[in-house]
C-alpha cells in the first residue's frame, strides 16, 4: 500500500505542477513510512520539501498555498501528531469555503497515517477519525487496500474540497498485484468486499481485514457474512450500507477507536434510523476499549479481533 500511495503522489505531481508535497521528513528520507520515497529527487525541492517540525504551521501554510491556487498534499506523520493542527483544521480548512461563500476553496489533502497494530509507542497509534468526520466541511476517507489507496489518493488530490486522507499504518505493507494507474470506485462510495446473506459487517481501514477474517471463520460455522468497506467516513454512503443491511437484516460496525462517542455510534444510529423495520437485532459496535491507546505489548488486548466480532454476534438472539 505504501508503494501504491507513492505511485499516486508521483503520478499526481507529474500530471499537475500545482501539486506540491511537504511535511516532516518527506524529502530525502522519503517519509517515515517511505510513502514519499524518491519524489524529491524526481521533482525537486520546489515541489516537495521538508517543513519545520510544526503541524499547525504545515496545515496553516497549506491553507495559504491552496488559496493561491496550489494543490498541497501535506503529511501529519502520525495521527496523534495532528492535534496541534486541530484549530487550523476545524476553524479554517473545514470552514473556508463556507465563510467566504465559495469564493475561496481549499483543494488540499492532509495525509494522516492512522491507527495501531504496528507496535508504536505512545502517540503513534491513535484513531482520530471521529474528530475529523464530525467536522462539517471536511471530507474524510480511509482506504483499506493498495488499489483503493492509489485511486482514492488521486481522486482526493483532484478534489476541490479539502480531504483528510487517513492511511491505516498496519496496512502499509499489504500487497496486491496492480496495473497502474488503477481506478476503483469513487472515493465517496462504500463497497461490498464480500457477499453474504446473514450479517453485514461494516469496517473501514484496518478493520476491513478483521471483518474479512471474521467472515471467513463464520463461514466455517455456516454463517454467511457480508463485509462492507466504508472507504469514506464523511460523507457516509447510506445507500450501499442500507442495501446490504436490508438484505441481511443484521449489522455490526468495527473500529479501533474507543467506542464511546466514536464513529461507530454514528454508523449504528444511521443504520437504525433508516432500516429499523428491516432489522432483526440491534446494531452492534465492536471497538477498542474506552482507554487511551495502550503500550505496544498490550495493544493486542485492546484492538478488536475476529474472535471478538464473532463473540459479539453471539449476543444476538438468533431465533428471533
Amino acid at each position: 500500500m505504501a508503494g501504491a500511495l507513492n505511485a499516486a503522489l508521483r503520478d499526481a505531481m507529474a500530471a499537475d505542477d500545482r501539486v506540491i508535497v511537504y511535511g516532516e521528513d518527506v524529502g530525502p528520507l522519503g517519509g517515515v513510512f517511505r510513502v514519499t520515497d524518491g519524489l524529491q529527487a524526481e521533482f525537486g525541492e520546489d515541489r516537495i520539501w521538508d517543513s519545520p517540525l510544526a503541524e499547525s504551521g504545515i496545515i496553516g501554510t497549506a491553507v495559504g498555498m491552496a488559496m493561491y491556487g496550489m494543490r498541497p498534499v501535506v503529511e501529519m506523520q502520525f495521527d496523534a501528531f495532528s492535534y496541534p493542527a486541530f484549530e487550523q483544521m476545524v476553524s479554517h480548512v473545514a470552514k473556508m469555503r463556507n465563510r467566504t461563500k465559495g469564493r475561496v476553496t481549499l483543494p488540499m489533502v492532509v495525509r494522516i497515517p492512522c491507527a495501531g497494530a504496528i507496535g508504536g509507542v505512545e502517540h503513534h497509534s491513535d484513531s482520530s477519525e471521529a474528530y475529523w468526520a464530525s467536522t462539517p466541511g471536511l471530507t474524510v476517507v480511509m482506504p483499506s487496500n493498495p488499489a483503493d489507496a492509489y485511486s482514492m489518493l488521486r481522486e482526493a488530490i483532484e478534489s476541490d474540497d479539502p480531504v483528510v486522507f487517513m492511511e491505516p499504518k498496519s496496512r502499509y505493507w499489504s500487497k496486491a498485484p496492480l496495473a497502474l494507474p488503477v481506478t476503483t470506485a469513487p472515493m465517496d462510495r462504500a463497497e461490498v468486499v464480500r457477499e453474504g446473506t446473514d450479517v453485514t459487517l461494516i469496517g473501514y481501514g484496518p478493520t476491513v481485514r478483521t471483518a474479512l477474517e471474521a467472515a471467513e471463520a463464520a463461514a466455517a460455522e455456516g454463517l454467511s457474512i457480508e463485509v462492507v468497506d466504508l472507504r469514506s467516513l464523511s460523507p457516509f454512503d447510506d445507500e450501499t450500507v442500507s442495501a446490504s443491511v436490508r438484505k441481511t437484516s443484521r449489522a455490526a460496525v468495527i473500529h479501533e477507536a474507543a467506542q464511546f462517542g466514536g464513529y461507530g455510534a454514528e454508523v449504528a444510529a444511521r443504520v437504525t434510523e433508516r432500516n429499523f423495520h428491516h432489522l432483526a437485532a440491534p446494531v452492534l459496535r465492536i471497538a477498542g476499549f474506552d482507554i487511551p491507546f495502550p503500550s505496544p505489548k498490550l495493544e493486542e488486548y485492546h484492538l478488536p479481533t475476529a474472535d471478538r466480532v464473532l463473540a459479539a454476534l453471539d449476543t444476538w438472539e438468533w431465533d428471533a
Binding site: I20, D46, S51, P52, A54, S56, G57, I59, G60, T61, A62, V63, G64, M65, A66, M67, Y68, G69, M70, P84, E87, Q88, S91, H92, K95, M96, R97, N98, R99, T100, K101, G102, R103, V104, T105, P136, G137, T139, S159, D160, D161, D188, P235, F236, D238, E239
Partner: protein, 377 residues
C-alpha cells in the same frame, strides 16, 4: 510615493525607543530615533492623512450604529489608524492582506465597500467581500491563525515567481499564540515575502502587555527567528508607512520576512460588549488620546503649509459622505436566503445536505419561520 531607506540588518536588536519620524507635536524627528528612515514626501503624507480621517469617521459611525443595535458587534480601531493605514498603504493592489477582526479600517483602505466589510459583524454571513478581487483574506477571529495563511500564500507566490507580498496583522495578545511562533519561524526558514505587523495596542481584551510577555519589545521576538524586527511608534503614520514600505520592498526583492511592532493604543473598548473601566484607568486613556495619530500628522501638514483650510473641508466632507453611505446601507436589512446555508459547505453535492436542505425548505414553506416567509426559492 517615495521612501528613503538606508539599511536593515538581521542581527541588530530593535531599538528600545520606538522609531519615529514625527514627534507628538508634529515636528520632524532627526537623528538616531528615525532608525535611518526618511520622512515620506508631503503628498504621500497628505494622502495618508485623508485615509486616516475617512477611516476614523467610518469607525466612529460604525460604533454608533452598533450602539443602536444595527450590528451584533464591532471591534473598533479608533486610535490605531496610523498602524492600520500606514501598513496597508505600503502594499500594491497585487499584494495580499491577511486581516483580523479589528482591521475593518484596513479593509476600507483596500477599497472594500462598507456593507461588505460589515456583513459579518451585522450577522448576515461570516464574510462579505470578494477575497480574490481585493486580494484580502477573510478576517480571522482565531488569533494568529491567519499569519500562517499569509506565509503559505506568499510562499506559493514565490514558487510561481510572482512578485507578491503578503502582509498580516496580529495583536499583542496574538504573539503569545503558538501559530504566531510557527508563522514567524516558517517565514524565516522559507524566506517568504511576508510582512508581520504586530499592532501592540496594549491590551488583549482586558489583559495588559506585561501579562502577555517578558520581552522588552515585541519586535525583539524577530531576532530569535533570524529576521529583522522594527519597534515603531504606531501612532506615527510616517514611520509606520516608511518602515512597512521598506519591509515590503525587501520581501518583494527576495529578502525574506520582517516583523514590525507598532506601539499604539486601543481607545475604545475591545468590542461593544466589553467594559474597559474595569481594567484600565481613565487617565491612561486620556494620555493616549493626547497622542492621537491624526492630530499629529495634521499639525505637521499645517505647519508645512500643505494642508489648507479648503482641503480640510473637502476631506471632512468626503468622510461625512462615507459615514452617511454607511448609515444608509446599514438601515437596509439584507435579503437573506436560509437555504443558502447548505450551498457553500462542499463543492461536491452531498446527499445528507440535500435532504436537510429539503427539510428546511418544507419548514419554511409551512410557515414555521414567520420572519422568513417567502424567502424559500
Amino acid at each position: 510615493m517615495s521612501l528613503n531607506v538606508e539599511h536593515a540588518s538581521v542581527r541588530t536588536l530593535p531599538s528600545e525607543k520606538p522609531l519615529r519620524l514625527l514627534d507628538n507635536a508634529g515636528h520632524a524627528v532627526t537623528g538616531s530615533a528615525t532608525g535611518g528612515f526618511g520622512l515620506p514626501d508631503t503628498q504621500t503624507l497628505l494622502e495618508l492623512y485623508r485615509k486616516m480621517v475617512v477611516a476614523r469617521r467610518f469607525d466612529v459611525q460604525v460604533t454608533a450604529l452598533t450602539k443602536q443595535g444595527r450590528l451584533a458587534t464591532y471591534p473598533s480601531a479608533y486610535g490605531q489608524e496610523a498602524c492600520e493605514i500606514g501598513a496597508v498603504a505600503a502594499l500594491t493592489a497585487e499584494d495580499w492582506l491577511f486581516p483580523t477582526y479589528r482591521d475593518s479600517i484596513a479593509l476600507l483602505t483596500r477599497g472594500i465597500e462598507p456593507a461588505d466589510i460589515l456583513q459579518s459583524f451585522r450577522g448576515d454571513w461570516h464574510n462579505g467581500y470578494d477575497q480574490h478581487a481585493h486580494r484580502t483574506a477573510a478576517q480571522a477571529t482565531p488569533l494568529a491563525t491567519q499569519a500562517l495563511h499569509a506565509v503559505g500564500l506568499s510562499h506559493a507566490a514565490r514558487l510561481r515567481h510572482d512578485p507578491i507580498v503578503a502582509l498580516t496583522f496580529l495583536g499583542d495578545g496574538a504573539t503569545s499564540e503558538g501559530d504566531a511562533h510557527e508563522a514567524f519561524n516558517f517565514a524565516a526558514v522559507w524566506q517568504t515575502p511576508t510582512v508581520f505587523v504586530v499592532q501592540n495596542n496594549q491590551f488583549a481584551i482586558s489583559v495588559p502587555l506585561e501579562r502577555q510577555t517578558r520581552a522588552a519589545t515585541l519586535a525583539d521576538k524577530a531576532v530569535g527567528y533570524g529576521m529583522p524586527g522594527y519597534h515603531v511608534d504606531g501612532n506615527d503614520i510616517a514611520a509606520m508607512y516608511a518602515v512597512t514600505s521598506a519591509a515590503v520592498e525587501r520581501a518583494r526583492s527576495g529578502g525574506g520576512p520582517t516583523l514590525i511592532e507598532g506601539v499604539t493604543y486601543r481607545i475604545e473598548a475591545h468590542t461593544n460588549s466589553d467594559d474597559p473601566t474595569r481594567y484600565r484607568a481613565a487617565r491612561d486613556v486620556e494620555h493616549w488620546k493626547r497622542r492621537d495619530p491624526i492630530e499629529r500628522l495634521e499639525k505637521f501638514l499645517v505647519s508645512e503649509g500643505v494642508l489648507t483650510e479648503s482641503m480640510r473641508t473637502e476631506i471632512t466632507d468626503a468622510a461625512e459622505a462615507l459615514a452617511a453611505r454607511t448609515r444608509d446601507v446599514m438601515t437596509i436589512e439584507a435579503e437573506l436566503d436560509p437555504l443558502e446555508l447548505f450551498d457553500h459547505v462542499y463543492g461536491r453535492e452531498r446527499a445528507a445536505l440535500l435532504e436537510q436542505r429539503a427539510s428546511l425548505e418544507a419548514e419554511i414553506a409551512a410557515g414555521a419561520f414567520a420572519s422568513h416567509e417567502g424567502a424559500a426559492r
